[in-house]
């Protein structure tokens, strides 16, 4: 057995233009969501006079830091709608973008360790099926068939009582996804401007007409915020609040191993999730640090608990070495669902609150956000994810299916 070699990159990825004085649309944030939004603005809506402004380097935020899990087995109809739309887009995207980003539909197992976990899982499988999302409930023996290195013995602190399985779920190489989207958006005329931090907004009455940046003022017909962990910092500069809290979330990888781990395994209860990257690293994550934070690092005790859980579930990992740890800043909403919405400022739109799980949504976030920006009103898929749900009370409470698990 050997691991998958990474594909070669195309000779040309994107230009590095100087910012122009004015654009029809300015997107703040050059992560996966900002890039996908620009791509669909160009391809679906024919809007190409667009700039994506990124304060650091392209896709160096959460896009470069996530653990790349893609799945659509969420509980509620609204979530199934948007995440399953994303999964369908993922399935066509490598061909559409003509870029092999190693999208691998190796399946995702969400383990159950308590009676309550079992009930939640069985219920979610039922909900998934009603929404046309592939899902199965597996007993411990079937779990072990999907992932033979998992310890399903009864003699552990939290035995595996079963799990949900989504066969179409999987992983993709995140930075290649960003580069693929950036390359196509660039070809279509979108200016991708790195090292350009948005520091304020220019307003005329209640309407946004431009952004201030550390490279000068840029006029904009419309502005889309896709700044993940920093959305509320930007919203405050624009004069409104967002119901999000920013938390550090960390992940780690081991050194390279021969392929041993055929799928993705997640456990909310014992707080670890694991997949094996194409090159062979074991990629592991856990929960967010409890406190608000903007430092791109997490606390060590979280790693300690995560390792304890990993070694109990996967005894074969006991002698693997941790090679690298890192953190990102995720913005969490009260109902663990995202916000893709108009804002109190005319011409300004926000895509945020994806918390620990927005990578999987990248194409659908871009699709719906582009629609919202282009038409000034939401697409049916993101209408339920508007800011006003916190006033009406029509929350989409995905804590069970979304929080912690990514």
């Amino acid at each position: 057995m050997s691991t998958t070699p990474l594909p070669e990159h195309p000779a040309h990825l994107w230009r590095n233009p100087e910012p122009r004085s004015s654009y029809d649309v300015v997107i703040v944030g050059g992560g996966g969501h900002g890039l996908a939004t620009a791509y669909y603005l160009a391809t679906v809506h024919g809007i190409t006079n667009v700039a994506v402004l990124e304060k650091g380097w392209l896709a160096g935020g959460n896009m470069a830091r996530n653990t790349t899990i893609i799945r659509s087995n969420y509980l509620w109809d609204e979530s199934a709608g948007i995440y399953e739309h994303a999964l369908k887009l993922w399935e066509g995207l490598p061909a559409e973008l003509d870029y092999d980003f190693l999208f691998s539909q190796r399946g995702v197992l969400n383990l159950a360790h308590t009676l309550q976990d079992v009930r939640e899982g069985v219920r979610r499988v039922g909900a998934n099926k009603l929404n046309g999302v592939d899902a199965e409930w597996l007993g411990p023996e079937e779990v072990a068939e999907v992932c033979p290195i998992l310890n399903v013995s009864r003699d552990t602190r939290y035995p595996v009582l079963g799990g949900t399985y989504q066969p179409r779920a999987g992983i993709a190489k995140h930075d290649h996804v960003a580069w693929a989207l950036a390359r196509r958006a660039d070809e279509l005329g979108v200016d991708i401007i790195q090292h350009c931090e948005v520091t304020g907004f220019v307003k005329d009455g209640g309407r946004v007409v431009g952004v201030e940046t550390d490279r000068g003022r840029i006029n904009a017909g419309r502005v889309g915020l896709a700044a993940a962990g920093h959305s509320s910092v930007l919203a405050e500069k624009a004069g409104f609040r967002l119901p999000v809290q920013s938390h550090p979330l960390q992940a780690l990888v081991s050194e390279l191993h021969e392929p041993v781990h055929p799928t993705v395994v997640m456990s909310n209860h014992v707080h670890v999730y694991v997949s094996q990257a194409h090159k062979g690293e074991l990629v592991m994550g856990a929960g967010v640090d409890s406190y608000n934070g903007y430092g791109q690092r997490g606390a060590f005790h979280v790693i300690e608990q995560q390792m304890a859980a990993a070694v109990e579930l996967f005894p074969v990992f006991a002698r693997a070495h941790v090679l690298r740890t890192w953190g990102g800043i995720v913005d969490v909403t009260p109902d663990a669902s995202p916000i893709i919405s108009t804002t109190p400022v005319d011409g300004m739109y926000v895509n945020c609150g994806w918390g620990t799980g927005g990578f999987k949504a990248t194409p659908a976030a871009g699709w719906t956000f582009a629609h919202t920006i282009a038409t000034g009103s939401p697409h049916p898929l993101n209408a339920p994810f508007a800011l006003d749900r916190f006033v009406t009370g029509a929350l989409i409470d995905e804590h069970g299916a979304a929080a912690v698990a990514h």
Partner: protein, 98 residues
């Protein structure tokens, strides 16, 4: 890992504490006077600054009492801890990021 100074027990590791979010968010004085927007503000909206932030902590494995802290969310520096009945102290961050 953070080190927090419990006003009753002294400095302890973060693992002894439970986080409680933003401090100084009073229950509405006249709940009946609030409209839906104001209720949303009270229930769902909290400050999320990049910099000094007044927040609540509970010494879960110690005295189990709540207290407040001012902590810089960019540097993770704990600038002050104080009792719930004390006002937010006037502390300045040393700046920087981590």
């Amino acid at each position: 890992m953070l080190r927090l100074n419990c006003p009753w027990c002294g400095p302890r590791d973060e693992t002894e504490f439970h986080y409680g979010g933003q401090a100084h968010v009073p229950y509405p004085g006249d709940p009946h006077a609030l409209d839906d927007r104001q209720w949303a503000e009270y229930v769902f909206y909290r400050d999320n600054p990049k910099g000094p932030f007044a927040e609540r902590w509970m010494h879960a494995t110690g005295c189990r009492r709540w207290f407040n802290a001012v902590r810089d969310t960019a540097t993770y520096q704990v600038l002050a801890t104080y009792r719930l009945d004390e006002p937010r102290p006037d502390v300045l961050s040393e700046g920087g990021t981590r």
